[in-house]
């Protein structure tokens, strides 16, 4: 069942630095708070922001795994048979397949069975205290090559034998679409869309005090429970995503588990990393790379990101904060360790 709208805050227009106007809207979608900021809004800003909110609702309705009647879950149920899906779902599965191909299977959305088997079966599983699931099913490694089918018209898919979870790319795709709406509408001089830590921006940020450099500043939170930030990044004209075990960790079958599943084993990835943050041009790809880098573990992440020129920051389970060469120019502030 899609979440009811819960409007947390409506500051339509407020005065930024020097009296400059900024439009801010907040709502909840896809299990996360969503914030839209438009600096120096144009006359089209209000309608563009409303379109963004509707866009998130549409993506959630079609792509959520927490509603048995969603387009995704009906396609999952159809398995190797053709299923009719809406445009957002078709595009999301197609984007997931592209990511699967381009990462040689390191990104693989066929992890739904493993997630449910570990007890992550509802959208509101987390947030109300520790979760402890008594029974855990055996892991389900994907084991086979994924070969979905897509029609030319963009309305039919065959997902294959194993059901899909689009949680590893869906929010990034939604943020991508939101940024495109705002940019296409020329909503303002600069915009920021943020959904549960997945962020996309246009422009160089809000107005600052004289002498302050302009940039969209994004803080990377500690995955280890501390209140301090690990770094502040320049995310101007870019997208940021983070995969972290901080929120979605629980106990299942008497052991500690989390939601970042290694497709090759069906088990939560183990490698000594607590969180990965990536800056990229595209929000969906930023999200994909966070998952893939997480799988490399602390021993392999450095070589992996440098060979591909990825802008990444990752934090080991011992709190060590590391950045790649491509990320270094975007680091405005950083600490070597977090708690």
């Amino acid at each position: 069942m899609a979440e009811m709208t819960n409007v947390l805050e409506r500051n339509d227009m407020n005065d930024g630095v020097g009296g400059a106007a900024e439009l801010q809207r907040s709502f909840r979608a896809m299990g996360s708070p969503v914030t839209v900021r438009v600096v120096d809004p144009s006359p089209t800003a209000d309608s563009a922001v409303a379109a963004v909110e509707q866009h998130f609702r549409d993506v959630e309705r079609e792509c959520t795994r927490f509603d048995a009647q969603s387009d995704l879950m009906r396609a999952n149920a159809a398995g190797t048979e053709w299923a009719a899906v809406g445009p957002h779902c078709w595009q999301a599965i197609r984007a997931a397949y592209d990511a699967y191909c381009q990462t040689q299977g390191l990104f693989d959305p066929r992890v739904l069975t493993s997630l449910v088997g570990l007890g992550y079966s509802a959208g509101d599983t987390f947030g109300a205290g520790p979760v402890d699931v008594a029974d855990a099913q055996s892991p389900t490694p994907v084991g086979t090559t994924w070969t979905p089918s897509f029609d030319e018209g963009g309305s039919l898919v065959r997902v294959g034998h194993l059901p899909l979870d689009l949680g590893g790319i869906g929010k990034g795709l939604a943020v991508r679409g939101a940024r495109e709406i705002l940019r296409g509408a020329q909503a303002g001089r600069a915009v920021l869309v943020e959904a549960g830590g997945d962020i996309a921006t246009v422009g160089d940020g809000p107005h600052r005090e004289p002498g302050e450099a302009r940039a969209w500043r994004v803080a990377v939170e500690s995955p280890l429970g501390g209140s301090g930030s690990a770094a502040v990044l320049d995310a101007s004209d870019a997208a940021v995503a983070t995969s972290s075990t901080r929120l979605r960790s629980w106990r299942a079958g008497g052991r500690d588990v989390h939601h970042l599943i290694d497709p090759s084993t069906g088990e939560p990835a183990q490698g000594g990393i607590a969180s990965v943050t990536v800056i990229a041009d595209d929000p969906a790809w930023a999200e994909v790379w966070t998952k893939v880098i997480f799988l490399q573990g602390s021993a392999g992440a450095g070589d992996f990101v440098e060979r591909r020129g990825l802008a990444a920051l990752w934090i080991d389970v011992d709190g060590t904060v590391r950045v790649s060469g491509a990320m270094a120019p975007r680091v405005l502030w950083k600490v070597p360790h977090v708690q």
Partner: protein, 119 residues
């Protein structure tokens, strides 16, 4: 009986490393054990102590080399300090040197956050 050149060589072998260390303020081995360079170093050190300007081109070239060694020594001292505090700016295994933030500097106020609720 020792010849003059042999006694010079012996003296230089003792003086050269000491002169270099005293001039740059840290223990840095000179790459080329050039007796003439060692002599020039000693002369420059003595001249500097006496307040004399160094005008000899060879000495000027040597001064440039010493400046480079000074910079290297500063870098070594910085890295040693970082090792003591746990932050070298270079994390083992990723081959990247990232500029560490001074611990006393507060973080700039962010516009958004990523990480705690990351999926």
């Amino acid at each position: 009986m020792r010849t003059r050149s042999r006694s010079n060589w012996a003296a230089l072998a003792l003086v050269a490393p000491v002169a270099a260390a005293s001039f740059v303020g840290s223990v840095v081995w000179m790459r080329d054990h050039d007796p003439r360079a060692a002599v020039l170093t000693l002369q420059q050190s003595e001249s500097a102590q006496q307040g004399e300007a160094v005008s000899d081109p060879a000495l000027q070239d040597l001064a440039a080399q010493v400046a480079e060694l000074q910079a290297r020594a500063d870098k070594v001292r910085g890295q040693a300090q970082g090792l003591a505090t746990g932050d070298t700016g270079q994390q083992a295994g990723d081959g990247v040197i990232s500029p560490p933030a001074p611990a006393a500097e507060p973080a700039p106020q962010p516009d958004a956050y990523t990480g705690a609720s990351g999926g």
